[in-house]
């Protein structure tokens, strides 16, 4: 028999970036707010403390901070006729576990989308004619404009203390920044991080090529910083343990360093770790949520009544919870009807590894978002009609780490074991740099999420099933980027270089790590027949359920998602505070 907790005004599912932000915004309104986090509680000290965090085997290879597939996973297949099998061993993407979520173990690349990306379908139609959109491509507009989100991007960047250089201040192009970016109301809160050798080489080469290099906007602190909540970041020391690690130095923007200390001071906020939400509970007609049911740290089932339920779990789990709770109609790829699970998308990446016999890059001096980038081949720059694809990419030359197990690039032909391997390692360690292409991924009719008919989890709930594969449009995009990066690589004059890009025979492979940018499935939009959420991230079907995170993206942007996720969260919070609380109900009439 489940026990029932006292009522709260708001229950937040998960305690990463989005729930931390919502916690601040809604406690400001005097609401009682409870966050339920499935993983353990964790903080810089003692959990990420020096020196134990600098342990590649434990955290980088054995994924200490990630969810355990044996506890929580999904099944994967390539097409609607295939049988999905469970993702039993972490590889392609790494959902975080514990307080802070993926916000603790990310690298810190913090971008805004291009204005065109938020209204992609309209933009393509207006600029090139909607007949260039392939039949099976299901891209949509977000339903919210860049101008509407700008103040929220700006505030999120101040909360996260981003280090960078503006390229467009209120329409004025700025030397040294990204000249192609959307307008910003203010400069980045911190100056860019200092350049490493690879940054300098890439920057100078790109300039020579007539391109427009600029520093990667980094959630790695270039100095000592205090944010609007009074929370603090300390200067990054380039230890090279960012992605897959919690920052040992208070230097990486995370819920812990940017929000949670301030939130925990509030008497009307509480959180419980090791409490996994099973489903959102609905009233008898399914129109209103009454709270959630969760399993607590002792394994007991608990009913948590609440007036407002905000899903802020990892994007895949948000979709899973909607499917399990019966909120919204599940998507059917055959009929094209239904919405929950629709438009799952990923990220189309590629890159080059350049080997220089006579250059010492000292890769152990690294930071997750250290790097020099360029946006000359972005979504907003490319003539889709002429090139024959929809999409774009940003390039970056990053030096994130010199960790010995996974960051040991060897020249072509080097043996993979034995004395000659050792010799090759000795000769080549520290002599390589990379150029990455970080590209968009469109959404397609048969790339989606639903409940698996065969596999269940520990609690007997069906696992979620991912149906996904690479499509020709996105391969054409990445092949275009390959040609560009080939030119840039040659221009740098390495002794040797390797290109690694998806090709037309590439199948989605869950084994090698690619990116933890899983988007879509609970997408936002302007029409309840084609989206799960309205433009305020509110469920069309159950008005007191809001869903944060990248699950709202109707297709993936060319950038890393966190900047957009942060901006959307503040945007939704403003709508809840100013519109929903005074008058609870649908914020957009269907």
């Amino acid at each position: 028999m489940a026990k029932t907790n006292p009522h709260v005004d708001v229950v937040l599912v998960g305690l990463g970036w989005t729930s931390s932000i919502m916690g601040m915004e809604l406690t400001d309104e005097g609401l009682s707010v409870l966050a339920l986090e499935r993983g353990p509680d964790q903080d810089t000290v003692p959990d990420f403390a020096y020196p134990k965090m600098a342990d590649e085997l434990t955290y980088g290879v054995r994924y200490q901070l990630m969810q355990r597939p044996a506890k929580s996973t999904l099944t994967v297949r390539h097409g609607v006729k295939d049988t999905a099998v469970p993702y039993r061993s972490l590889g392609s993407f790494l959902p975080g576990n514990g307080v802070g979520g993926a916000g603790t173990h990310w690298n810190g690349h913090t971008w805004r989308p291009q204005p065109q990306e938020l209204r992609l379908k309209s933009y393509v139609g207006e600029a090139f004619g909607s007949d260039i959109i392939p039949d099976e491509m299901t891209i949509q507009d977000f339903g919210v404009s860049y101008d509407e989100l700008e103040p929220h991007f700006d505030f999120f960047e101040k909360v996260a203390g981003i280090s960078g250089k503006a390229g467009n201040l209120n329409g004025e192009i700025q030397e040294g920044g990204n000249p192609f970016e959307g307008w910003r109301s203010s400069e980045y809160p911190q100056p860019p991080m200092p350049r490493t050798l690879n940054d300098t080489l890439f920057h100078d080469m790109a300039k020579d090529q007539g391109l427009h290099p600029f520093p990667l906007p980094a959630a790695n602190s270039s100095g000592a910083y205090t944010n609007p909540y009074g929370m603090q970041l300390a200067p990054c020391n380039y230890c090279g343990f960012c992605e897959r690690y919690g920052c040992l130095n208070y230097s990486k923007s995370s819920p812990q360093t940017c929000v949670l200390g301030a939130l925990k001071q509030r008497k009307n906020f509480a959180y419980r770790a090791n409490c996994e939400v099973m489903k959102v509970n609905l009233d008898s007609d399914g129109k209103k949520a009454t709270g959630v049911t969760y399993i607590d740290e002792n394994g007991d089932e608990v009913i948590q009544p609440a007036d407002l339920v905000i899903l802020g779990a990892y994007s895949l789990h948000n979709v899973h919870l909607l499917l399990l709770s019966g909120i919204g109609k599940p998507y059917d790829p055959i009929s094209g009807e239904g919405v929950v699970g629709k438009n799952y998308a990923y990220q189309m990446n590629g890159g080059a590894t350049l080997y220089f016999k006579d250059k010492e890059f000292n890769p152990f001096i690294g930071a997750g978002a250290n790097g020099e980038t360029l946006n000359d081949f972005g979504v907003e720059q490319i003539d889709f009609g002429q090139e024959g694809f929809i999409g774009g990419s940003y390039f970056n030359a990053a030096m994130t780490n010199g960790q010995p197990i996974r960051n040991m690039p060897l020249p072509k032909g080097a043996p993979s074991w034995g004395a000659e391997w050792k010799q090759a390692v000795q000769e080549s360690y520290g002599h390589t740099m990379t150029i990455g292409s970080h590209g968009s991924n469109m959404s397609y009719r048969d790339c989606y999420l639903d409940l698996d008919p065969n596999y269940t989890d520990d609690y007997g709930r069906p696992l979620m099933r991912m149906t996904f594969n690479w499509k020709a449009n996105d391969v054409r995009m990445t092949q275009f980027m390959k040609q560009k990066i080939d030119v840039l690589s040659k221009a740098l004059g390495p002794d040797d270089y390797k290109l690694s890009f998806k090709d037309f025979d590439s199948q989605y492979d869950v084994r090698p790590y690619q990116t933890t940018h899983n988007v879509g499935g609970a997408i936002m939009g302007t029409d309840p027949s084609t989206s799960v959420l309205n433009r305020y991230l509110q469920s069309w079907d159950v008005h007191n359920v809001f869903v944060m995170g990248a699950s709202a993206f109707p297709q993936n942007i060319q950038y890393n998602p966190t900047g957009l996720v942060g901006g959307l969260t503040y945007w939704a919070a403003k709508a809840i505070r100013e519109q929903y609380l005074p008058n609870p109900g649908p914020l957009v009439q269907a």
């Binding site: 005004d9 609401l31 003692p46 603090q232 300390a234 001071q265």
Partner: protein
């Protein structure tokens, strides 16, 4: 949807219970009293760990035995609910219980004697109307003969507790007078920062004596000299008034961060004071003159530049202390030893690092330290513990290095000193020692 504070019952500071019948004027008086109780840090001693606010029960080690703080909630039996205003005043100013017995001078009544009548009234209003009564009596203090003879304290009082109500000095600005009143009175800063005499009395209770606030070692921790040295003085590590204000408001400033006993003073008391009051305290401390001896530059074997160059070059083959610094400390405090403003304390000219008694520094190395979460700076920035990783010898080499680097002048530390500190560390320390279960 209703807007309410569902967790208000868990409110930490017992401010909730203002009687419903109180008039607006009474309420203002109660709130003023609550503020003054913060300034006096009453809660720090009169609350046991995990206990109800002001219900007493905290064990305070003293040279005479363990003193247990009393229940000062308005419960008529267990607390001070039956105290008249004048009995309350006598307890604060003279250390007299309602029954006439003497309080142990762990209660800083020699300082509270400075309190104005108005402030006594406000504190009385707060303790009677603003504090939740707790009906449990605190345990009796465990003081052996002859110190359990409370009449003896009368003699001690006659000798030492002769302070009178605060009077501003002629010509003293309003700000300096306010600062002096807070520092000497409610703040009772001298309790820790003024040297004590043979009978454990503070050698001075105000700035009429040059010994006032010149520093004292308590339990091995150096409570530094707070005298700023006047306009051009270099006391208080050359901190500006704003640096002092930052430190008291948030437990950190551009140079340093709070450690040891002072952490709870910032957390419970000074972080709640108004900016005006903190500025007044800072101005007053800056204004205090320093003796000629204090201004003398202590000798050091190094300069900041030499140490920074040596560490940057990692020229540490025959310098185990410097090598340990690079391996353990450099990630945050950097080769120049200066850390970063408001986040990582500078080790250069740091009072804790250079103290005669290295106990405090050793404690921080072994056990780590955590800044308090304050309203202005909510992040409880922490240094992890290194005791699990460093042997007594290594910790001693490291401490010796830090105390001699960058122009520091702290003197050597022995492995025996480290062992002693290690032995006395609390058992329930939070540790960052790796402990993986997979």
């Amino acid at each position: 949807m209703t807007h309410r504070y569902w967790l208000a019952a868990l409110l930490g500071c017992g401010l909730a219970g203002v009687a419903a019948s109180a008039t607006a004027a009474e309420q203002t008086e109660v709130e003023r009293g609550a503020y003054l109780a913060r300034a006096g840090d009453c809660v720090a001693c009169h609350t046991a760990p995990g206990g109800k606010p002001f219900a007493g029960g905290l064990e305070i080690e003293s040279p005479f035995g363990t003193i247990i703080s009393t229940n000062i909630t308005p419960d008529p039996d267990a607390g001070i609910g039956n105290y008249s205003r004048d009995q309350f005043a006598a307890a604060l100013r003279e250390g007299k219980r309602a029954d006439g017995a003497n309080l142990y001078p762990a209660m800083p009544y020699p300082s509270y004697a400075k309190l104005s009548d108005d402030d006594i009234d406000a504190l009385y209003a707060y303790f009677m109307q603003g504090v939740e009564p707790v009906s449990e009596k605190a345990k009796e203090s465990d003081i052996g003969f002859p110190f359990n003879q409370r009449w003896g304290i009368g003699l001690w009082n006659w000798l030492f507790a002769d302070a009178e109500a605060f009077e501003p000095k002629a010509g003293q600005s309003e700000q300096l007078a306010r600062g002096a009143y807070l520092v000497q009175g409610l703040g009772h800063c001298g309790s820790c920062h003024t040297p004590r005499g043979l009978l454990f009395q503070e050698k001075a209770l105000d700035d009429s004596d040059d010994a006032y606030l010149t520093g004292e070692t308590l339990g091995g921790w150096w409570a530094p000299n707070l005298r700023g040295g006047g306009d051009s003085g270099s006391g208080l590590q050359n901190w500006s008034a704003d640096d002092i204000v930052d430190y008291l408001a948030t437990g950190r400033n551009d140079h340093s961060a709070v450690t040891g006993e002072m952490t709870s003073v910032v957390a419970n008391s000074t972080s709640y004071l108004s900016d005006d009051d903190l500025q007044a305290i800072a101005a007053y401390l800056k204004s205090l003159s320093r003796g000629a001896d204090d201004e003398q530059e202590a000798q050091s074997e190094t300069t900041p530049e030499q140490t920074e160059q040596m560490l940057t070059a990692a020229d540490v083959a025959d310098k185990p202390g410097a090598r340990l610094y690079l391996d353990n400390c450099n990630a945050c405090h950097f080769a120049n030893g200066r850390g970063a403003p408001q986040t990582f304390p500078s080790l250069v000219d740091n009072e804790l690092v250079n103290a005669d008694d290295p106990t405090g520094l050793i404690h921080v190395i072994l056990a780590g330290a955590r800044m308090p979460s304050t309203p202005g700076k909510p992040e409880a920035l922490a240094m992890p513990d290194f005791g699990w990783r460093l042997s007594d010898d290594e910790a001693a080499q490291l401490a010796t290095f830090v105390r001699g680097a960058w122009g520091n002048h702290g003197g050597e530390v022995s492995a025996d000193q480290v062992a002693k500190v290690r032995e006395n560390l609390p058992q329930d320390l939070e540790s960052s020692k790796p402990d993986f279960q997979d």
